[in-house]
């Protein structure tokens, strides 16, 4: 299966490169018969000697993002130090404010609820509005939240495609008549959260047969074994790349958006210049939900190192040669 896909891509690549000619230019996109291409990150000699410490929180996607930003900034000529696996959002935020790290990737809704005392129910459902609010709040603390990623790693609910087909559901509202025969599994704190069980009960009127608290690492196995029909999912989970599961559409917009943004200390940003902003924007262009699922699956399912997967992303998108 993999070889066939590679063959197709190769043929297309050869076909379109011959139609495009050289691909080394400064900035700007280049439309070709096949679509747009991400431009490579240019090394700027003015950046050498300027150093930045990139941090990350303590789960797979954070490791991947942290590595991607770090390697991309390095390709742009900066001296990059890393301090990954800082811990939870509170600890990472403290590390950022104290200067232990100069920047790390944070999620819009996480910042609003964890640092800026916004209740989950009050978080703006529109991704841009959520980002704007987070950016304004961060600015008051001397931190700059750079523009957000296209993908949102939001909490959601899903089922195996088999189960979804047999029940005939595509959206969360479709669950309503069947809810009483469904076991819903999620992390233990889901039971009391407005953006989890409570919200599903209130906003969608779902009354499940049972809520089963499970370890987050076991959610998908629980669904596979039929121990639960519905599970909590995160929209960029690696397992979703297998195509075995369906994420139910959140038609009533219960779940807030979690776009990632690279948050940098103002002082660092000033010292490092405009290239940081440019590189971050460049790198984020390719980060769709599908791509993030693929990258996460390479770490979680294929057991590769986040550092290597980040390099693969940069190479496969042409950002770094």
């Amino acid at each position: 299966m993999r070889r066939n896909l590679l063959a197709v891509l190769t043929v297309l690549c050869i076909g379109t490169v011959s139609a495009c000619g050289s691909d080394n230019d400064n900035g700007g996109k280049e439309k070709s018969a096949g679509g747009t291409k991400l431009t490579a990150i240019q090394k700027n000699p003015a950046n050498s000697g300027k150093s930045i410490t990139v941090g990350s929180k303590n789960f797979t996607e954070e490791f991947i993002l942290g590595n991607i930003y770090a390697q991309a900034l390095k390709a742009a000529g900066y001296t990059v130090k890393t301090q990954f696996n800082l811990g939870s959002d509170q600890i990472a935020n403290r590390a950022l404010k104290s200067g232990q790290v100069d920047a790390y990737p944070e999620y819009t809704s996480t910042a609003l609820t964890s640092f800026f005392d916004v209740k989950i129910a009050d978080v703006p459902k529109d991704p841009q509005k959520a980002y704007d609010q987070a950016r304004t709040d961060y600015a008051k603390q001397g931190l700059t939240a750079l523009p957000p990623t296209p993908f949102s790693d939001a909490q959601a609910v899903g089922m195996t495609k088999k189960e979804a087909d047999s029940l005939g559901v595509k959206t969360i509202s479709d669950l309503e008549p069947k809810a009483s025969s469904i076991v819903f599994a999620g992390p233990p704190e889901c039971k009391q959260r407005v953006d989890c069980l409570l919200g599903l009960q209130r906003t969608y009127g779902l009354k499940f047969k049972k809520f089963a608290p499970v370890d987050p690492a076991q959610r998908y196995k629980t669904a596979d074994r039929g121990q639960a029909q519905l599970i909590v999912v995160f929209t960029t989970d690696g397992q979703l790349a297998t195509g075995k599961y369906l994420v139910l559409q959140d038609d009533k917009h219960l779940f807030p958006p979690y776009n990632a943004m690279f948050v940098v200390r103002d002082k660092t940003l000033k010292k490092l210049g405009p290239d940081v902003n440019r590189v971050v924007r460049q790198v984020q262009k390719g980060m769709t939900v599908q791509v993030m699922q693929e990258l996460n699956s390479r770490v979680d399912i294929d057991k590769q190192e986040p550092k290597d997967v980040a390099t693969q992303y940069l190479k496969e998108t042409g950002l770094v040669k």
Binding site: G87, S88, D89, Q90, I91, T110, T113, S114, K119, I120, P188, E189, Q192, R193, V194, D195, C196, L198, P213, V214, D215, A217, Q218
Partner: protein, 253 residues
């Protein structure tokens, strides 16, 4: 002065966490307060099940081995081997091969609890004065009666020491049970994003109190089953592993 107040603040915050429910860091969840009782109960349940089964398995075997005075190498080695296996690795091994959840964790904890109890039972019976045993036999007691009415009661303090050691080990390992899918007081400690530092420290305090309380209670039990005049500090002087057993019996951790 500032730093003294600061750390008292964290401890104060932790103590407050134990007694008052509050909303979690990310919001939307109630944590702390009575939740601690529930988590402590989960941990006690898990530990009690493991310990109970371990006693039911290890004591009879240890009694028999000590009575017939055979296989001492096995009875002692089982503790040495048990000590070399880190508890987290044991938990992880069973999580990987049996799966996550209460039952599988309890199984791993039972295996963890057996060696100290087995070794101590063996040693306790082995060290019963031979003359006493001979006298009992002389009185016409059969093997099983000798065990039940002479060896077991005299070995009880050492056995209790083994149970005490196992109990402390099991409670300590049950703290990290959430890594393998079972609930316990380790859950707040391992989930800083929900519970914050006060939650982590608060749960740590409750765990410490739980472990020390169990140790003290079992220590009292041990003293209660010690017949007066029996010296606890017996041991042969040849420098072999039987020497130096004290109130906790065999020094397994």
């Amino acid at each position: 002065m500032q730093t003294t107040l600061a750390f008292l603040g964290q401890f104060g915050g932790a103590i407050d966490f134990i007694f008052h429910q509050r909303e979690s860091y990310a919001g939307g969840v109630q944590i702390g307060g009575s939740e601690m009782l529930d988590l402590a109960w989960q941990q006690i349940k898990l530990s009690a099940v493991a310990l109970g089964i371990a006693i039911a398995v290890a004591v009879p075997i240890g009694l028999w081995l000590g009575h017939v005075r055979r296989f001492s190498f096995f009875a002692i080695s089982v503790s040495n081997i048990g000590r070399a296996v880190p508890t987290l690795a044991l938990l992880a091994f069973f999580a990987a091969y049996l799966g996550l959840g209460f039952t599988n964790v309890a199984f791993a904890l039972t295996l963890l609890a057996i060696p100290p109890i087995l070794t101590n039972t063996y040693v306790g019976v082995y060290q019963v004065d031979r003359d006493t045993v001979d006298a009992a036999r002389g009185m016409g007691m059969r093997g099983i009666d000798v065990v039940r009415r002479v060896e077991l009661p005299l070995a009880l303090p050492t056995i209790a020491g083994g149970v005490r050691t196992s109990a402390v080990n099991v409670i300590a390992t049950a703290t990290i049970a959430p890594l393998a899918g079972a609930t316990s007081l380790g859950f707040p400690i391992l989930n800083a994003q929900i519970y914050g530092p006060e939650g982590q420290i608060g749960a740590a305090m409750v765990v410490a109190v739980l472990a020390v309380a169990a140790d003290v209670l079992l220590g009292l039990f041990q003293r209660a089953v010690t017949p007066r005049g029996v010296k606890l500090e017996a041991g042969d002087r040849q420098g072999r592993p039987l020497a130096g057993f004290r109130k906790r019996g065999v020094q397994t951790a």
